[in-house]
């Protein structure tokens, strides 16, 4: 009989099969996973930090990849002070959100009200060695600004009715014609390169320079013109110039001067003639001492600010614990002083005290003179009305008042040199004032700055205690070099102004005569330069006009003629013509699938290092 094929279960079990062991997989897995976690944590404690990290830091931060404490504070994430420690060693505060607002708007009140933004919000780390930490997405900019290039407003420099002139009388039309004639060129487009020469390193154009671009026509014999006779009483002669130790006077020879009947003339003057420049400064100091004092005060304030930053940029590595503590104490004192002054200011400005006093006067007058009492009553109502108080001065009046006060300070300092430290301090404070801003705002700003510096110093001391290495000296040196360069320039400017000393007080008529002398003295210069308030206006020929963005010409000029963006340049007759179409010309190429529309392609978030 054949065997039957089996369907289903072949036979009954003789015994129950063994049950599967519960947790047989989970327990060993959990133990292994726990061991792994312990190994990772242990590794972190002994210095194997990269396993803890969500990703490698960018290449520039590679040397601190395994030193979390350089950037992170336990339980507080990444504080801005840790970024500023290396990237803003001079405590300029240029990396803060308020610096960005000030850079964009120029309004310190708006800047002071700007929210504090963490650096790490925009600059995201741990995205790999090759990631760009500065590649901030447009959506970040769109939090406050327009969302895309289509909605980009027209450039401020074009919108403003008073576009900044480059300080010269200059018309492109005449120059293009001359260059075409002189170099036998057939089209205006060919002439651009004659003056706007490429600078390979910056991928843009060299700034226009007299010796390089103008002298061949405007100073063929080494002279830019002549100066008619001016009274010797208004100017100093060559001897006077040399006696003041002006180095550039060495290039002048006595035969270049013609003196007769109490007047001095120059048949030929060179570009940047030291005699002309010095005497223009002298005449300005005499005819408009307030403006001169204002200029000097601004330079002094800038020097003080730069010196402060230079001191703060001293590498912390060079400071011992005691020096750090000393600096912290000084900052603490300054911060508390500002707070106290703020408190005193708010008490002095209490409107209710004044109103109460007016009420007393009204009560006293009521019996004797009802009419006067009514007037006082009106005054009281006006004083107690909401929003009452002195209206801020218009900007022009503010500037005039400031120059007046600075002029008085000059006089005080001249009368008693012992008061110089005090006048210097007052001068700095007056220069720091902004039209419409009250003293409390200024003091609050100072207090906040000191507090920020103090926070940073305390953090540094904490890091010192933890044994965290200081930033590399090279990081600090770059900033220090920039500050020192700016400081040297400012000191040189101040030194040149210091040579001009005048204590005489002139009548209005005498001042007017001096101004007329200045016009004659600057006649050779004013063929091209502008004379404003007795001083030659600073020249900004062919400098970038976009203040909040950068534009590099090289990639643009290889794709199109200059005339594409600067139409009508060949017919331009005045220097303040910008001759470019504005944002529309950008949109012609910067659109989808053609050229980048990223904000960071053109815009800077942080202002540049030393202004």
């Amino acid at each position: 009989m054949p065997r039957k094929p089996t369907w289903g279960t072949p036979t009954r079990a003789e015994h129950h099969p063994p049950l599967r062991k519960k947790w047989q997989l989970l327990f060993p897995s959990a133990i292994a996973a726990g061991a792994l976690a312990v190994i990772l944590l242990g590794g972190h404690l002994v210095g194997a930090r990269t396993t803890f990290s969500p990703g490698s830091v960018t290449g520039g931060h590679g040397n601190i990849d395994a030193s979390c404490e350089q950037c992170h504070t336990t339980g507080r994430g990444v504080a801005n002070v840790r970024c500023q420690r290396c990237h803003d060693p001079s405590s300029a505060g240029r990396l803060t959100a308020s610096a960005h607002v000030l850079f964009g708007s120029g309004d310190p009140r708006k800047a002071a009200a700007a929210p504090d933004v963490a650096c790490a919000r925009c600059h995201v780390e741990h995205k790999g060695r090759r990631a760009s930490i500065s590649a901030v997405p447009d959506v970040q900019c769109a939090q406050c600004h327009f969302g895309n290039l289509r909605r980009h407003p027209e450039f401020a420099v074009l919108k403003a009715s008073t576009a900044e002139a480059p300080g010269m009388n200059f018309g492109h039309q005449k120059h293009i014609e001359e260059v075409m004639k002189g170099q036998a060129m057939s089209g205006a487009a060919q002439t651009c390169g004659s003056c706007h020469q490429k600078n390979g390193a910056r991928r843009d154009f060299e700034p226009i320079n007299f010796d390089q671009h103008c002298a061949s026509c405007h100073s063929k014999q080494g002279s830019v013109g002549a100066i008619d006779p001016v009274p010797l009483t208004d100017v100093v002669d060559l001897e006077g110039l040399r006696s003041r130790g002006i180095g550039a006077a060495a290039m002048l020879r006595p035969e270049e001067f013609e003196t007769s009947r109490g007047k001095i003339a120059r048949p030929a003057v060179r570009h940047r003639d030291p005699w002309v420049l010095f005497n223009l400064d002298k005449i300005r100091a005499e005819s408009d001492p307030e403006a001169f004092a204002g200029e000097r005060a601004r330079i002094e304030a800038r020097i003080a600010s730069l010196e402060r930053r230079l001191a703060a940029a001293t590498p912390f590595a060079a400071l011992d614990r005691a020096a750090l503590q000393e600096r912290a104490t000084a900052l603490q004192r300054e911060s508390e002083g500002a707070s106290q002054r703020l408190g005193a200011l708010s008490g002095a400005g209490d409107a209710s005290t004044g109103v109460a006093r007016i009420q007393e006067v009204e009560t006293g007058l009521r019996a004797a003179d009802a009419g006067a009492a009514d007037e006082v009553s009106k005054l009281k109502d006006a004083a107690s009305a909401k929003g009452a108080g002195p209206a801020p001065l218009p900007a022009a009046d503010f500037e005039a008042r400031r120059q007046e006060v600075l002029g008085l300070l000059e006089a005080v300092e001249a009368a008693d040199p012992a008061l110089k430290p005090r006048t210097a301090d007052l001068r700095r404070r007056i220069v720091a004032l902004v039209p419409g801003e009250n003293a409390a705002d200024l003091l609050a700003r100072v207090r906040d700055q000191r507090q920020a510096s103090l926070d940073r110093l305390r953090d540094e001391m904490k890091l010192r205690d933890q044994g965290v290495a200081p930033p590399r000296a090279a990081l600090l040196d770059a900033d220090r070099r920039e500050i020192m360069r700016a400081l040297a320039d400012a000191r040189a400017q101040l030194a040149s102004l210091a040579l001009v000393t005048t204590t005489a007080t002139l009548s209005d008529e005498e001042r007017q005569k001096k101004r007329e002398t200045a016009v004659v003295l600057a006649a050779a210069c004013t063929k091209c330069h502008l004379l404003k308030a007795g001083a030659l206006a600073p020249v900004r020929a062919a400098r970038p006009v976009l203040t909040r963005a950068r534009f590099v010409h090289e990639p643009h000029v290889i794709q199109a003629d200059c005339a594409k963006c600067h139409p009508g340049i060949e017919a331009s007759k005045v220097s303040k013509d910008l001759n470019f179409k504005g944002i529309q010309s950008c949109r012609e190429c910067h659109r989808s699938f053609q050229a980048s529309q990223d904000c960071r392609e053109c815009h800077l978030f942080h202002p540049k290092g030393v202004p």
Partner: protein
């Protein structure tokens, strides 16, 4: 392969869609960051779901609050898939930058993938085995059943001719002596069957008519043995796929703990 609970699939798909929409709108309105806002929220959600997923072994002893083991399984599967989506959204659909990021992402992906593969195996293999095999057997009993078949075959050839006995010893007994699992059964449960039976057909043409019945019986035993081999192979896969799912999930939890600790500390 239709889902047992289509409603749950619909709910999970809708939830996934909502999550992606939230991400799209959130990333359009503000820069996406895993460290704050919605990015952090999705990270926390994914972590909590992973912790819940690790409680799956409790489904039998303490099925509450989900009521039944089946509901727990449904939640395990769909929430696990959504948790992986939450991980991707947490990262902003960007590649990670370092060891920990990659380890967390790959382990999340691996655990989710092996879980879904497991679901598919649990659905597909029982159907394949019931449709393609005649024999059914508990995994633990298969070695005993094979031993029983061997004894039955030995008894059949005890009094057979020398030719048949030689054939049995040379070509049959060795194949009956133990379990022979094979991955090829995953592709075809009847794989190699025709080739295995060919010697029996050849042999039946050489033996006496009286012994042909023995050869046929040996052939049915061999077929039963092959069915048991298939069961052993496929049931083994059904049990062992957890090896590629559970330990990586445990490692994922360990790294997740380190990741959370790093976030809290730094």
């Amino acid at each position: 392969m239709r889902p047992k609970q289509p409603l749950n699939l619909s709910i999970a798909a809708a939830a996934g869609l909502v999550m992606v929409l939230v991400y799209a709108i959130g990333a359009w309105l503000a820069p996406w960051s895993p460290k704050r806002g919605l990015g952090l929220f999705f990270g926390i959600v994914a972590s909590l779901v992973f912790v819940f997923e690790m409680a799956y072994p409790y489904r039998r002893s303490r099925a509450r609050p989900l009521g039944t083991a089946r509901r727990w399984l449904q939640a395990h599967v769909y929430l696990g898939a959504l948790a992986f989506l939450a991980v991707l959204i947490h990262t902003g659909f960007h590649w990670p930058g370092g060891f920990m990021g990659w380890a967390l992402l790959l382990l999340s992906a691996w655990t989710t993938l092996t879980g879904l593969v497991g679901v598919w195996l649990q659905k597909w293999l029982p159907i394949v085995m019931s449709e393609g095999l005649r024999v059914e057997a508990l995994y633990e009993r298969i070695p005993a059943l094979i031993e029983h078949l061997l004894k039955e075959a030995d008894a059949l050839v005890a009094n057979a001719s020398e030719v048949l006995e030689r054939f049995y010893l040379a070509e049959v007994r060795t194949r009956l002596a133990g379990v022979e699992p094979s991955w090829s059964y995953l592709l075809d449960v009847r794989a190699g069957r025709e080739r295995a039976l060919e010697p029996f057909r050849r042999m039946s043409s050489f033996v006496d008519p009286a012994e042909k019945e023995i050869v046929n019986d040996l052939m049915t035993i061999r077929m039963e043995k092959m069915d048991l081999d298939v069961h052993y192979s496929l049931q083994g896969i059904l049990r062992r796929w957890l090896i590629v799912h559970v330990p990586p999930a445990a490692v994922l939890m360990a790294l997740l703990a380190v990741h959370i600790l790093a976030w809290v500390l730094y």
